[in-house]
């Protein structure tokens, strides 16, 4: 929305997968310079499977070396490779039936152009200089162009394979959310009041969830920057992968005066749990105008960016009785 940046983020997970008694040997083979299939009745399956695809019966670990050459039985020319493809330049995805196998596998053929590709052509596997025990350790080329390689095997059998998954998303900030963010930069809290029942939501989701009524800028209302703690917890950070926190801190929900819904997920690091109470009155101490920033914006998460305020300060007013807050805990 112009002045408010778009959400540009990557959801990424470093998957490590166990490989089991069939895929393990297959990936070990890729790392060590060979292609492995498995016997299934009269046939040889490559890539190898743990079960007979027709009957579901478990297959004995009767492995057969296949390839290094094979036949292209199907293909497409990938004219616009994605970031996830094994090749940055146009290439062919193909179904390749390796010599000695009865079923084809999907893989990439690095041909110079679509003119080099024809169904029935022969291709040969090539092993990448750096291999990790994954299907990406290899690629294929037209047989005439295959280079002779001497591949140094690894030590231990491959029992774990890594697959780093990342999905990138980009989304503009929705208009109702942009208005909320602009108000924060202005040192104000903006909510929306339902035209159906008058309840005020901060921050709003753009609709009244209780009555299923969409809301517009006509429903925008400003609420106070002073409010009441409705619930809190003390978080003791667990050191999981990606965790950045080390010291315990408070996470609380604050019901701003004028709002019916508390703002949750507010982190407090300058007060300790013994100084904190449900019912306590706090005021938002804003950063000076011009020093407020939004940081990472979102259409859904992160109610109040910590970069627009300095701290939440106890006002010294008497606590609000807890039973007056029971409909606004969360």
């Amino acid at each position: 929305m112009g002045d408010i940046p778009a959400v540009d983020s990557t959801l990424a997970y470093p998957y490590t997968r166990t490989t089991g008694p069939v895929i393990g040997p297959f990936l070990t083979g890729l790392r060590d310079g060979s292609l492995i299939g498995i016997r299934c009745g009269e046939q040889v399956l490559c890539p190898p499977l743990e079960f007979d695809p027709a009957t579901g019966a478990e297959l004995a670990p009767d492995f057969v070396e296949v390839g290094p050459g094979g036949e292209v039985v199907g293909w497409t020319w990938v004219g616009e490779p994605t970031e996830k493809h094994p090749c940055a330049d146009p290439f062919a995805f193909a179904l390749i039936r390796l010599d000695g196998a009865d079923t084809p596998m999907v893989h990439a053929v690095e041909a110079d152009s679509i003119d080099e590709m024809v169904t029935g052509m022969r291709v040969q596997v090539q092993f990448r200089p750096e291999r990790h025990g994954a299907v990406t350790d290899v690629f294929f080329v037209p047989e005439a162009r295959a280079e002779h390689q001497s591949v140094v095997p690894g030590d231990e059998a491959v029992t774990i394979t890594e697959h780093f998954i990342g999905v990138r998303m980009r989304e503009e900030i929705h208009p109702f959310r942009a208005r909320y963010y602009r108000a924060l930069l202005d040192g104000r809290f903006l909510g929306q009041r339902s035209p159906a029942d008058g309840k005020v939501y901060v921050p709003s989701r753009g609709y009244d969830p209780l009555n299923r009524v969409p809301m517009t800028d006509a429903d925008d209302v400003e609420v106070s920057d002073t409010g009441t703690v409705t619930s809190f917890t003390q978080i003791t950070p667990v050191q999981y992968y990606g965790q950045e926190e080390t010291e315990p801190y408070i996470r609380c929900s604050i019901l701003l005066d004028g709002s019916d819904s508390p703002v949750s997920g507010i982190d407090i690091r300058d007060l300790t749990a013994d100084q904190f109470r449900v019912g306590m009155r706090l005021r938002c101490v804003w950063r000076p105008p011009g020093e407020r920033e939004l940081g990472d914006v979102s259409n859904r998460w992160g109610a109040i960016p910590e970069t627009v305020y300095e701290r939440w300060e106890p006002t010294g007013e008497p606590d609000v009785a807890a039973d007056l807050l029971k409909d606004h805990n969360f």
């Binding site: 890539p47 020319w77 970031e83 996830k84 596998m105 299923r212």
Partner: protein, 355 residues
């Protein structure tokens, strides 16, 4: 086993297919839910069971399907279910649930915001985690392989694909919910365009969209009380093939044939068929395997090639058929939905009006 109870569609609603919707997914669903309830004269509390089909990966938002319940109204608590599938499979579960006989009305939804992510990078993740996902093997490439196999088996030509697109675009021009349409689309001009995943071109691939759709279904007498022109679900079935591309016969669709046989599709004429064609060559395969007659109107809505709000698209095929039966322009119709890639998993739904 007793014959399944008569279940009818008593209301339908869909949002337009948006290129990029400037608001949240619950808002899309809310519009659909509000329209369905108000047109049926029902309150949310009248709905016995709610089920939605959606996929968090499309918007890249964890638990998007939980936030989506706001579209239905999450308070008071609602008896609801979810499938990480197209809404057509949510319809299957709702139909199945009503067979237990203790409840009468179900709300079925399908929705998705595909605009934040690139589906060619997301959908490889549904493939085999060892053999194809790490290669980023995507549905368009898979479709390209299938389309080429079709040509080499002398079952279709690139001109046939262009003809499907041209006809679809022309039909989509009169569909107010379509994302694209062109009353003057012509196959020769389409064939002059460059390839994307040869032999497929950009226009051979459905344009992914943001959107939501929903239906209300009800049992027997309750359906007749609520709706003057109920559209009866005469049969619904879905089948799946191997997820290993090398084990499939890509020019055939055995799962479609199996579902069609189970539903005794050939038992009566079909006035209309809406097919979940996300790559134009798929229409060639489906027409052949389903044995569609020339008298069956195929994708009169323009189909997904004119707008593909992923996770709602299959349910919209049901909606487009149901609307044409309800308004009297069709008597019996078929809706097809697909999942996986290259027609790996297929659902068929036979719909019929009161005769």
């Amino acid at each position: 086993m007793a014959a399944p109870d008569d279940i009818a569609i008593i209301g339908v609603a869909q949002t337009p297919a948006h290129d990029c919707y400037d608001n949240t997914e619950p808002t899309l669903l809310m519009a659909v839910v509000n329209q369905l309830l108000s047109e049926a004269g029902l309150e949310r509390s009248d709905v016995d069971f709610t089920i939605a089909g959606s996929c968090d990966y499309l918007s890249g938002m964890p638990f998007a399907f939980v936030a989506n319940v706001d579209g239905v109204g999450a308070w008071p608590p609602v008896y609801e279910s979810h499938v990480e599938m197209d809404g057509a499979w949510a319809l299957f579960e709702a139909w199945l649930r009503l067979q237990l006989g203790d409840i009468d009305i179900a709300l079925v939804l399908g929705s998705g915001k595909s605009s934040p992510t690139d589906s060619r990078q997301v959908f490889p993740l549904q493939g085999d985690p060892y053999f194809t996902a790490p290669l980023g093997f995507d549905p368009v490439s898979y479709a390209g392989i299938q389309a080429r196999a079709l040509i080499e088996a002398d079952l279709a030509t690139e001109a046939d694909f262009a003809a499907v697109v041209a006809r679809s675009l022309a039909d989509g021009a009169t569909n107010p919910n379509a994302l694209r349409g062109d009353p003057n689309a012509n196959a020769a001009a389409l064939l002059a365009e460059p390839h994307l995943s040869a032999p497929l071109r950009h226009h051979d691939v459905s344009p992914k969209a943001d959107g939501a759709a929903g239906v209300l279904i009800a049992r027997g007498e309750r359906a007749r009380q609520l709706c003057a022109d109920p559209v009866w679900i005469r049969g619904i079935d879905h089948r799946i093939e191997s997820h290993h591309p090398g084990l499939r016969d890509l020019v055939d669709a055995p799962s479609v044939r199996l579902a069609a046989d189970r539903l005794d599709l050939a038992a009566g004429a079909l006035d209309v068929a809406e097919l979940h064609v996300t790559h134009s060559h798929e229409e060639t395969i489906l027409r052949r395997v389903l044995g569609l007659a020339d008298t069956t109107a195929v994708n009169p809505s323009g189909g997904p090639l004119c707008g593909d709000p992923v996770m709602a698209t299959g349910l919209i095929r049901v909606i487009e058929v149901a609307q044409r039966i309800a308004d009297g322009s069709a008597g019996r119709g078929l809706a097809h939905a697909s999942s996986g890639a290259a027609l790996q998993q297929n659902l068929l739904c036979v719909l019929e009006g009161d005769s």
